[in-house]
């Protein structure tokens, strides 16, 4: 029977799992596979695993429970081992590495910070502040102007958008950095100009939340900062 694997913990973890549901339509009970020095939390792998709410929630609920009661290494969603022996082999082979990670994550939590900027508001600002952009924009409105002018306009605007996003992202990360133990930054995407995860000492959680709130208040109009956490340390496992 193949096993869905949730997380790796030390045997000293309370591993209170009885009222939790695993993944799948009719989830099997969560149980623990014991290796020599580490354990893995598993359930029987369902045939119908999907990335819809049911299974994602079940996976995260297990991570949050484990994390709230001890230290664990959360696996990414969707990993299945052939059987208990395969799980034990992994625990054995990776024992040193996993133990080190667990030690480093003890008493720390993850916060994820995402920044979204209203694009129209940003473009409006750029048009207002750059004479050349304004000129080209006037020249190319309502289908007027040449392809080269449109291209130049778009290129200037793209550069402005990028440099403004980079500056904002740098400001945000710099403001939070003093409070964090480690950081994991995603490259800016079309959706978020900043997407950063921070590993924060549990005792600094409140200070971090407060700092993020203050930072959100200082940001320009049209910029939204979204804070999620404290979370299990997905980004630092």
């Amino acid at each position: 029977m193949s096993l869905y694997v949730y997380a790796i913990t030390k045997p000293s973890h309370p591993l209170r799992l009885d009222d939790l549901k695993g993944v799948g339509e009719s989830p099997s009970e969560l149980r623990v596979v014991h290796g020599d020095s580490l354990c893995a939390v598993v359930s029987e792998a369902p045939d119908d695993l999907s990335i819809a709410r049911r299974d994602l929630e079940a996976h995260s609920a297990v991570q949050e429970r484990l994390w709230s009661e001890g230290t664990s290494l959360p696996l990414s969603f969707g990993f299945v081992a052939q059987d208990e022996d395969a799980v034990r082999a992994v625990l054995e082979q990776g024992a040193e590495q996993y133990s080190q990670r667990l030690a480093e994550l003890t008493d720390r939590v993850e916060f994820n910070v995402k920044g979204v900027q209203d694009e129209d508001a940003l473009l409006q600002q750029i048009v207002e502040e750059s004479p050349r952009v304004r000129e080209l924009n006037e020249a190319t409105r309502e289908g007027r102007g040449s392809y080269e002018q449109r291209l130049e306009l778009g290129q200037l605007v793209a550069q402005e958008v990028q440099s403004r996003h980079e500056a904002l992202a740098a400001q945000i990360v710099a403001a939070l950095r003093p409070l964090v133990y480690a950081e994991n930054l995603s490259p800016p995407s079309e959706q978020y100009f900043v997407n950063a995860s921070f590993l924060v000492d549990r005792e600094k959680s409140e200070a971090f939340t407060e700092a993020s709130r203050e930072l959100g208040e200082q940001l320009p109009e049209g910029v939204e900062l979204r804070l999620n956490g404290p979370l299990p340390p997905y980004s630092f496992a």
Partner: protein, 156 residues
């Protein structure tokens, strides 16, 4: 800047999985990966990782920005203070979906919707409504962070 729509938008720290959408990529993409285990093949997992799409510098991007600038209502913009409540409202409304204009935002919306409804179906890329702009942008072949390219892009 003294106007602070962003401030009110910082949510209280989330508890449980109430805000699953915002931590989706963490759960899908950030946890420990163990090579000796098999990752179950999941329909839609690449779509769900849409956040990984990096903004690319390409002619297509430039033309889209030019078009977006052309569309701005400049008269309204010059009366900026009167427009602020509108901006704030839109930012707030953006909520979980943000102001994404990304190539696959339609898919993410469909995905979010499925999460919100608690449906158990897998996400089929074909079931989402598509807008012309998105279709065009989806064909952009250039992408940094190539390790995160979707299977669709790899085929190109």
């Amino acid at each position: 800047m003294t106007i602070t729509p962003g401030g009110g938008a910082v949510p209280a720290p989330t508890q449980g999985s109430g805000n699953l959408y915002d931590v989706l990529e963490l759960v899908l993409d950030r946890g420990l990966v163990i090579d000796a285990f098999v990752r179950v093949s999941l329909v839609g997992i690449e779509i769900a990782k849409v956040d990984a799409r990096v903004v690319v510098a390409s002619v297509d991007t430039y033309l889209r920005f030019a078009e977006a600038c052309n569309r701005l209502d400049l008269e309204a913009g010059r009366k900026a203070p009167a427009q602020l409540p509108d901006v704030m409202e839109r930012v707030t409304e953006g909520g979980a979906k943000g102001k994404s204009k990304g190539a696959l935002s339609g898919a993410v919306e469909a995905f979010t919707e499925s999460l919100q409804k608690g449906r158990h179906d897998e996400i089929e890329s074909g079931e989402r409504p598509r807008r012309g702009k998105e279709e065009r942008r989806e064909r952009e072949p250039v992408e940094r962070g190539s390790e995160r390219r979707s299977s669709r892009e790899r085929e190109e």
